[in-house]
């Protein structure tokens, strides 16, 4: 007995995934391993018409979580990224999906005992169908199978609930493809069907690429799943792409409002708060204490040294005193015990010790004052001409000469630095005075200077870039050609290379046999270095002027930071990272990406867009007659996951109006539930008479499936 199984509607709490989660197959792991593996255009329904002992009819709901054997997660991901056709190719995922569903249903029997209705794409290649049938019959032992087109199911369901009429057009936009199927008398006319290979996958992919190219620093954050979420939340279809884009180009306020900003998680660097009063006081106290300690230590050391020296002095004086008492002859023997050889030495030692004592006792030592008189003494030998000196003295003289020149040089350098400091201070003062006198003029001058410096800089950069570009493309070291003006350094290099290499004459290449030849490269590199040095100076100057301007002028913005469009954002080196650096702005991309559904040329796919497809489909209808067409355009149904973009209905209507004659009735409606309607439609179709049973499979073989076509009306 044919019982219409009660429909268990899918629960409302589920998150709808406009990426064509055809009911039945909706793999999405929660947590971080979100894998969206789909068998596109395929849904599995277990519509049980036979009752089993313990469970009566039941139907499978949309299953939200799925299981995937952990081993295969990587290949699942690979599958997702590469799958482009809507005909089922990779059956392992079909297997997984089936496994999952059946185990979800807690099937315990030896085989699956229910007939199965599977949705497929329009005009599915027979091979797909047959492989699937094989899988079901042989792998699972299913008694019978039926195939149907998901878009049609969706349309039928909506027809049932009155959203659309018996004659109409189903506009289905799925993951990988979009179909347009006209309906006449409730039956789909497949001869007039039209398919473009653009779907939600392409939209997401386009968005992902655009964002990755614009924000290469954040590429790790721009993942597929995140981009999908962004697409679902923020993308919309513009009514007229050109005018919308012009809004953005002008920079109008509406365009600003349409920008959506995605703030990436960002931790600001720990802010250095100005230390509070106590902090400062505490730190000062600590420093004080440390200073005190150091001073004490130094004082202790000094005093100990002083006592040491005094002791030594005392000892020496005592020695001298004793020496006076000793007779002349006994002096050497007497002295040998003490370690001094003669009286003179002792006396000189005494002198030394008293000097160091005096030094230790004094707080500051004017070394320079001592140095000057000693300098003139030291350099006594210099003025004596060479021939009067002995060889040792000559050596001495050379040493003294050397010391003299170096110390003089050092003094000169110090002097120069000092003068420069004074100079700079004077300059700053002048600057300040000028600024205070006439702030505007000063600002203007500064601006002008900045402009010319930056122009020079940019020009040099341009030349360099051009040079390097030609380098890349020509693979030659000189970067010649195509009318690029080489700068001086490059010209020099070229000259060196050509002359050196070909100078030997007679066509022989003996460059490199002599060691001097390799000096060539040193010359070459030096040239380049010179150029860079000059640039660095200018760069430093530019940076200085820029910072000055930034200090003074609040309205000044360095040129490198301006961009009317958000291009590749460079983070300037001289600024700490701010919150804005971690923002990704979706402006034009919001409606640029879904636009490819209507203009596949933007991606390079040379096919018609959805509005044009509708015209093509109507044109292909076998039976013509205005009334049919009018009836069809009067009920255009949008289904499929990728038709959930806001604004798509209006766009479609505008597009179709362009093709249809003036004032023909056009009505575009969206299905009641674009994602799940196919399931609902399929659940309502009585198909038990039209199945392809296992018997048939064994007898007639797979090829019979070619002529299998489900009849959709009931």
């Amino acid at each position: 007995m044919q019982r219409n199984p009660p429909l268990i509607p899918p629960s409302e709490k589920r998150r709808f995934d406009p990426l064509d989660r055809n009911p039945g197959m909706y793999f999405k792991q929660e947590r971080d391993l979100s894998v969206h593996a789909i068998a596109p255009m395929m849904g599995v329904f277990v519509v049980g018409n036979e009752s089993i002992a313990d469970e009566v009819e039941f139907q499978v709901d949309v299953i939200q979580q799925t299981k995937l054997e952990a081993i295969d997660i990587s290949s699942n991901l690979a599958f997702l990224r590469e799958h482009f056709s809507s005909a089922l190719r990779r059956f392992c995922f079909a297997v997984y999906s089936h496994d999952f569903i059946f185990s979800m249903l807690n099937l315990r029997a030896e085989q699956v005992d229910h007939p199965i209705l599977i949705t497929e794409c329009v005009c599915n290649p027979v091979q797909s169908r047959s492989k699937l049938a094989e899988l079901l019959f042989e792998g699972y032992g299913v008694p019978s199978v039926a195939f149907g087109v998901d878009a049609v199911f969706s349309y039928k369901y909506n027809q049932q609930i009155g959203v659309c009429d018996k004659d109409g057009l189903a506009v289905w936009s799925g993951l990988n493809t979009s179909h347009i199927i006209p309906f006449v008398n409730g039956e789909p006319v497949f001869e007039a069907c039209c398919r473009t290979n653009i779907g939600g996958y392409h939209v997401t992919d386009y968005l992902k690429q655009l964002l990755s190219l614009k924000y290469p620093n954040h590429m790790s954050n721009i993942t597929w799943e995140k981009v999908e979420d962004l697409k679902m939340e923020h993308c919309y279809v513009a009514l007229d792409y050109a005018s919308e884009v012009r809004l953005f180009q002008k920079g109008a306020k509406e365009a600003e409002e349409k920008n959506r900003c995605w703030q990436l998680p960002w931790i600001p660097p720990p802010a250095e708060e100005p230390p509070s009063e106590e902090e400062i006081a505490r730190k000062a106290a600590i420093k004080e204490k440390q200073g005190q300690r150091l001073r004490e230590m130094a004082a202790a050391k000094r005093s100990s040294r002083i006592t040491e020296l005094e002791n030594e002095l005392q000892g020496l004086e005592f020695l001298l005193h004793q020496l006076e008492n000793v007779q002349e002859n006994d002096v050497p023997s007497f002295l040998s015990e003490t370690g001094y050889i003669s009286k003179l030495e002792i006396e000189s030692a005494v002198v030394r010790v008293t000097q160091s004592l005096k030094k230790a006792k004094r707080e500051q030592v004017e070394i320079e004052e001592k140095m000057d008189p000693s300098m003139t003494e030291k350099y006594t030998l210099i003025n004596i001409p060479d021939n009067m000196l002995s060889p040792e003295q000559l050596k001495e003289k050379r040493k003294q000469l050397f010391i003299k020149t170096t110390s003089e040089g050092r003094q000169r350098a110090k002097q120069k630095r000092f003068e420069e400091e004074l100079d700079r201070e004077r300059q700053n003062e002048l600057d300040e005075k000028k600024r205070l006198e006439n702030p505007e003029l000063y600002l203007e001058q500064l601006h002008a200077k900045h402009r010319e410096l930056s122009e020079k800089f940019e020009q040099r950069k341009r030349l360099k870039v051009n040079g390097t570009h030609t380098n890349e493309s020509h693979n030659s070291s000189g970067g010649v050609g195509c009318g690029e003006r080489l700068n001086a350094a490059q010209k020099e290099r070229m000259r060196l290379l050509t002359t050196a290499a070909f100078d030997r004459g007679k066509g022989e290449d003996t460059l490199g046999t002599r060691d001097e030849d390799w000096q060539l490269y040193k010359l070459m590199s030096k040239d380049i270095d010179d150029d860079d040095e000059g640039q660095d100076e200018d760069e430093a100057e530019l940076a200085r002027v820029t910072s000055r301007l930034q200090d003074i002028d609040p309205t000044f913005v360095a040129k490198s930071e301006i961009g009317p469009f958000q291009t590749i954002v460079e983070i300037p080196r001289f600024r700490p990272l701010t919150k804005e650096d971690f923002q990704i702005i979706l402006g034009v991309e919001r409606f640029r990406c879904p636009e490819i559904l209507f203009q596949p040329n933007m991606i390079g796919i040379d096919q018609a867009g959805m509005d044009e497809m509708a015209g093509i489909s109507i044109r292909r209808l076998p039976l013509k007659g205005n009334s049919v067409e009018e009836r069809i355009t009067n009920s255009i149904l949008m289904t499929g996951g990728s038709c959930l973009f806001p604004g798509m209905g209006e766009r479609l209507e505008a597009g179709i109006r362009k093709i249809r004659p003036f004032e023909s009735p056009i009505r575009v409606v969206r299905a009641s539930d674009p994602v799940l309607d196919a399931w609902r439609g399929a659940a309502a179709v009585p198909f038990s008479e039209q199945t392809f049973s296992r018997q048939d499979y064994y007898e007639k073989g797979e090829d019979w499936l070619r002529r299998y076509n489900l009849r959709y009306t009931f």
């Binding site: 792991q29 929660e30 947590r31 979580q65 799925t66 995937l68 054997e69 952990a70 482009f84 005909a87 190719r89 990779r90 059956f91 392992c92 297997v95 496994d99 059946f102 099937l107 315990r108 029997a109 030896e110 085989q111 005009c123 290649p125 091979q127 797909s128 042989e138 699972y140 032992g141 497949f190 001869e191 069907c193 039209c194 398919r195 290979n197 655009l210 190219l213 614009k214 792409y241 050109a242 884009v245 012009r246 953005f248 180009q249 870039v465 961009g563 009317p564 469009f565 291009t567 590749i568 640029r592 203009q599 933007m602 390079g604 796919i605 096919q607 018609a608 867009g609 044009e612 093509i616």
Partner: protein, 124 residues
């Protein structure tokens, strides 16, 4: 297996009663997974659509033809209308600022932008 994988209830048991051939038998662990799925083109070729009459709809028949509308040219980088093309890189651009940006792009990005439009130079 990690705890979260187990918790999420996403693992299939290794033996499913309703299957005739278990996955583990078909794809034993340790064996090279020599799955060679046919490309769509191969499938379609094997279909031999030429034999059957061209009036019947089949997978290839119903594909939509190239668009009749002249394609509008949009800037590769910003999405604005782009009347100009950079001769060196073949990128479309909308105004001088974009042009400056294009000229300073490294080659990799240029190719990727072109690939978005299916216009990249593919070296086979």
């Amino acid at each position: 297996m990690e705890a979260e994988v187990l918790e999420a209830n996403i693992l299939l048991p290794t033996h499913l009663s309703f299957k005739r051939i278990q996955m583990s038998e078909k794809y034993p662990k340790g064996h090279a997974r020599g799955r060679h799925w046919k490309h769509l083109k191969q499938i379609l070729q094997a279909e031999n659509y030429q034999i059957y009459s061209s009036n019947e709809p089949n997978y290839v028949n119903i594909e939509s033809p190239p668009s009749m509308y002249p394609s509008k040219k949009f800037c590769d980088i910003t999405g604005f209308e782009a009347p100009y093309i950079d001769p060196r890189t073949n990128l479309r651009y909308a105004n001088t600022d974009v042009f400056k940006c294009i000229r300073s792009l490294p080659n990799e990005y240029v190719q990727r932008y072109l690939a978005l439009r299916n216009a990249a130079v593919v070296l086979k």
